[in-house]
């Protein structure tokens, strides 16, 4: 009986001890709060350098490192699964900017911090240049902008206040400027010179020079100019050509205007009608041609580069070449021969002079016939199918002379 009680007590105490020990173990094996700290001290790295971050954990657990850098984020594992050394992938470590990191264990952030990657100025510099606009106007008001982006071998823009030398050459001028970069770039406005021509530019950082760039400087707006004429004779023969030409057109700084500048010649004749002809400049000079009038006339000529410049006014007079001409009626007045038409020296007029025949009946113009001369003569035929027998008035005009025949009887 006693033995039995003893057993019960023994059993009871065993159970008690077991229970308490289990309770304590469960209490103590409750997961300890995992904590970590950064061991590595370097905070600033040059691009391209290996960035390794060492952490110290109070309990060895598997962690990952989350990175947030200029171009995006990544989650990396330790170099070896058991350690807490992380090496930032080289393509991230090569890019300038802050890299935020977070050491993560089961979605919890244990440590966070930032390392800074700066441009590696010891690597070979590469220069990206942008120049625009590529053509400007001479005279010192217009300008082109030269922008330089100096980068390191990993394509990182250099830090602010990097010294950038930019040089340009124009004629005898060779100019150098020292710039300090800001906001990734160094830039300068290069104003045009008074002369037109080609500007050459380049830039330099340290020992690295960019390639050569060029900017075209075109002459500024043309100034007013003078026109002159050249003709073989003064007669209004409707055959020869008068040549109109400008002086050499220049801008206000004496630069000859660009080839191809369009000059418009405007001719006002005695009756107020406007004729136009045009030419484009070559070496500053524009030439235009115009046919002589075929009757006595006076021309007032002025030339324009529209919207920019104009010329003086030139007056040209043309003398008539004939006072009168012969007209022969034949075949019951149905054949009319005009001519011979003779020119200023009594020579036959060159083929192609225009003769106009107007036919009136009872004061009403019923027809106009136009023909051109051949061997000095023009022949008109009034066929009876078209013109009934009767009385007509006939007017003939050629080379500014008009002759009227009244009451011509057609059979």
């Amino acid at each position: 009986m006693r033995l039995f009680r003893k057993n019960i007590i023994f059993l009871g105490s065993v159970i008690f001890i077991c229970a308490t020990s289990i309770a304590f173990t469960t209490f103590y094996t409750k997961p300890k709060e995992v904590s970590a700290k950064l061991v590595s001290t370097q905070k600033v790295f040059e691009a391209g350098e290996t960035i390794s971050l060492d952490f110290e954990l109070n309990t060895p657990v598997k962690t990952t490192l989350f990175l947030h850098a200029s171009f995006g984020s990544a989650n990396i594992d330790p170099v070896e699964p058991t350690t807490t050394r992380f090496v930032i992938p080289s393509f991230i470590a090569r890019k300038k900017g802050k890299i935020s990191y977070k050491l993560i264990y089961e979605s919890e952030v244990l440590v966070k911090g930032v390392v800074d990657v700066i441009a590696n100025t010891r690597t070979e510099v590469s220069l990206e240049s942008y120049i625009g606009p590529p053509s400007i106007v001479a005279g010192g008001k217009d300008y082109t902008m030269h922008v330089v982006i100096p980068t390191d071998a990993y394509d990182n823009p250099f830090p602010d206040s990097t010294v950038v030398a930019i040089k340009h050459q124009f004629m005898k001028v060779e100019n150098e400027n020292t710039l300090y970069s800001k906001d990734m770039i160094a830039w300068k406005n290069i104003f045009s010179y008074k002369q037109s021509g080609r500007l050459l530019l380049f830039s330099k950082v340290g020992e690295t020079a960019s390639k050569e760039f060029s900017v075209e400087m075109y002459s500024a707006l043309p100034e007013d100019f003078v026109i002159s004429s050249d003709r073989k004779h003064v007669y209004a023969d409707g055959n020869q050509i008068t040549e109109l030409s400008t002086s050499i057109i220049k801008d206000m700084y004496g630069n000859v205007v660009s080839d191809g500048t369009l000059v418009q010649f405007v001719i006002k004749d005695a009756s107020g009608a406007i004729l136009q002809t045009q030419g484009s400049t070559l070496y500053g000079k524009a030439v235009a041609r115009v046919l002589h009038p075929d009757h006595k006339d006076t021309w007032q000529i002025k030339a324009y580069v529209y919207g920019m410049a104009e010329s003086n006014e030139l007056t040209l007079s043309y003398q008539p070449i004939i006072d009168d001409f012969e007209v022969k009626f034949a075949k019951e007045n149905r054949e009319i021969v005009v001519g011979p038409l003779v020119s200023f020296m009594q020579q036959l007029i060159p083929d192609g002079a225009t003769v106009k025949l107007m036919i009136f009946k009872e004061q009403k113009k019923i027809d106009t016939k136009i023909s051109t001369s051949s061997n000095g003569k023009v022949r008109f035929l009034l066929k009876d199918g078209f013109y009934e027998a009767g009385i007509y008035d006939i007017h003939i005009s050629a080379l500014g002379v008009q002759k009227k025949y009244k009451k011509v009887l057609l059979q």
Binding site: H68, S70, N75, F91, I92, K95, G132, V147, I149, W187
Partner: protein, 517 residues
């Protein structure tokens, strides 16, 4: 016989010859037409690119003064659009680990860095779901020829969720300052350099409640400094349930219904703002106008309104965040001073989307949306309309009052409610409850109108005893229920049609007596 065979051979040979020719011609024509398809030459200029805006983070131009040259308004818009697209494309690239479209918004050198990262993450099965929420940009430089710009983008708020092997690793919100150099290439402003200048740990601007119309003090709702008890009802017009706004909008009908509600002794209604009909990221002005009319009408009848936003919205993906933010901004900031509003209810029963959209997506979206709405409106309360009591504890620290719906057995309600009270120290709102008097062909054992009345009688007693804020579902029986609400099954639709206090003929059902405590 020989003759006959010869004819057969002949016709076979000729036939196959013609057949081969036809196949050949068909093949050549297919090749030619294939070569003719594709880009029209004019598309090289990217002039006619029709892009639907899908990315709307908040963007402010702080300053456009720069030493280079004054910038034109159009160029500013172009830069803004392309810059945001660059972020969007980048977000998509890191989420899907593909590189589609990256080349349009990053120059040849810059895109390489994104490609590297995408390849790295793809190898390790990492997906990063991210979006930016806020940009405040200043123009540092704009070149004389208009081809190069440097901008600083400060306090860029980025939200990211990192997944590895489909497992969520980390969710975080960062704020950084960036500087970018952009070049105009092929009609796109492309990013050439992108440098994260610093990490901006300044606290995000979160406005606190200041002199709001509605307040919570000691777990009680106060409206204009007076304690307020919600006695309300969920409201849709009888003819246009779930489709109150738009072409069918009728302010007269609504005003009449408000009279009925007011006369019945209620003080609050709950209405719904459908996301798509209101215009998603670009809220249609006529919708705001109609919404304003409803609020004005409620104000004139002295009714308070709980506005449930994002009705029929179900995306929640991080890439879609900015659109919903702009949607909320436009509505909330337009009516932040409206006295008729009691609370913004962010979303109706979002916990029902947990299964299909993942809980983490939905909760993160809700959490951010609360922050967004608080930025624009400090006058009104914020709540979320959970469909059951179990979900009600989610985000309880961020909302002003906790709303839940109850359609289960009325006998279990009080116990469950008391349990919830012990867990939450914010005002609890029974935002939907009710019983459908659906007895009929489709549900022979459904509740009768009498049972419904009895149900309400009991429930209102409980509400009174426990001083519960309540809103019943709903004023009317409906003739039609859209399939988008409960699906196409006729018995489900049938049930949904008979929750009202007033039947489809306009007659008050017995339950109407118990529309309030």
């Amino acid at each position: 016989m020989i003759h006959k065979n010869r004819t057969i051979y002949r016709s076979l040979i000729i036939g196959s010859f013609i057949g081969v020719l036809m196949i050949l011609i068909f093949g050549i024509s297919q090749i030619l037409s294939y070569l003719n398809t594709g880009a029209d030459r004019s598309t090289m200029l990217h002039q006619s690119l029709q892009k639907e805006k899908v990315y709307f983070p908040k963007l402010v131009w702080k300053d456009t003064l720069n030493p280079g040259r004054p910038i034109e308004k159009q160029t500013l818009l172009d830069i803004e659009q392309d810059y945001l697209n660059a972020w969007y494309i980048r977000n998509v690239a890191y989420q899907t680990n593909t590189i589609d479209g990256v080349e349009d918004y990053y120059t040849k050198n810059a895109r390489q860095h994104i490609y590297n990262l995408v390849a790295y993450n793809r190898d390790r099965d990492i997906e990063i779901h991210s979006t930016t929420l806020d940009h405040s940009i200043s123009l540092d430089f704009y070149s004389a020829d208009g081809q190069l710009a440097v901008i600083s983008d400060n306090q860029v708020q980025e939200y990211q969720r990192v997944y590895q092997k489909q497992q969520l690793q980390l969710e975080e919100k960062l704020q950084s300052n960036y500087q970018m150099l952009l070049l105009l290439e092929d009609g796109f402003w492309r990013i050439r350099h992108m440098v994260k200048k610093s990490v901006d740990d300044r606290k995000l601007i979160n406005r606190t409640q200041e002199n709001g119309f509605a307040n919570i003090i000691d777990g009680k709702i106060y409206l204009n400094d007076k304690q307020y008890k919600i006695k309300g009802i969920n409201y849709y017009p009888q003819e246009t349930p779930w489709n109150m706004f738009g072409d069918h909008f009728d302010s007269k009908v609504i005003a009449k219904d408000f009279d009925i509600i007011k006369k019945a002794g209620l003080n609050t209604i709950r209405i719904f703002v459908p996301y798509k009909i209101f215009g998603k990221g670009k809220v249609r002005p006529e919708m705001l106008d109609q919404f304003g009319q409803v609020l004005d009408s409620a104000a004139s009848k002295n009714l308070q309104v709980i506005v449930t936003l994002f009705d029929f919205y179900g995306d929640y993906s991080v890439l879609d965040w900015t659109l919903t933010h702009r949607h909320a901004e436009q509505i909330v900031s337009s009516f932040k001073d409206h006295k008729a509003i009691l609370a913004w209810d962010i979303k109706n029963e979002p916990n029902l989307d947990f299964a299909s959209r993942k809980k983490e997506n939905v909760v993160a979206w809700l959490s951010e949306m609360i922050d967004q709405i608080r930025q624009y409106d400090s006058n009104h309360l914020i709540t979320i309309g959970w469909s059951d009591m179990t979900s009600a504890t989610i985000l309880q620290n961020k909302v002003d009052m906790v709303s839940f719906h109850y359609y289960k057995n009325i006998d279990d309600f009080e116990t469950n409610y008391q349990q919830l009270v012990s867990k939450i120290d914010k005002p609890l709102v029974l935002q939907e409850f009710g019983l459908s008097s659906s007895r009929g062909l489709w549900s022979p054992f459904g509740a009768s109108e009498k049972t419904q009345a009895h149900y309400y009688e009991q429930f209102q007693k409980i509400n009174q005893q426990n001083d519960i804020h309540y809103l019943s579902w709903t004023l009317y029986d409906f003739k039609e229920v859209p399939s988008s609400v409960v699906g196409k099954l006729p018995w489900r639709k049938h049930k949904q049609k008979h929750f009202g206090f007033i039947d489809s003929n306009g007659k008050k059902k017995p339950a109407f007596e118990f529309i309030r405590e």
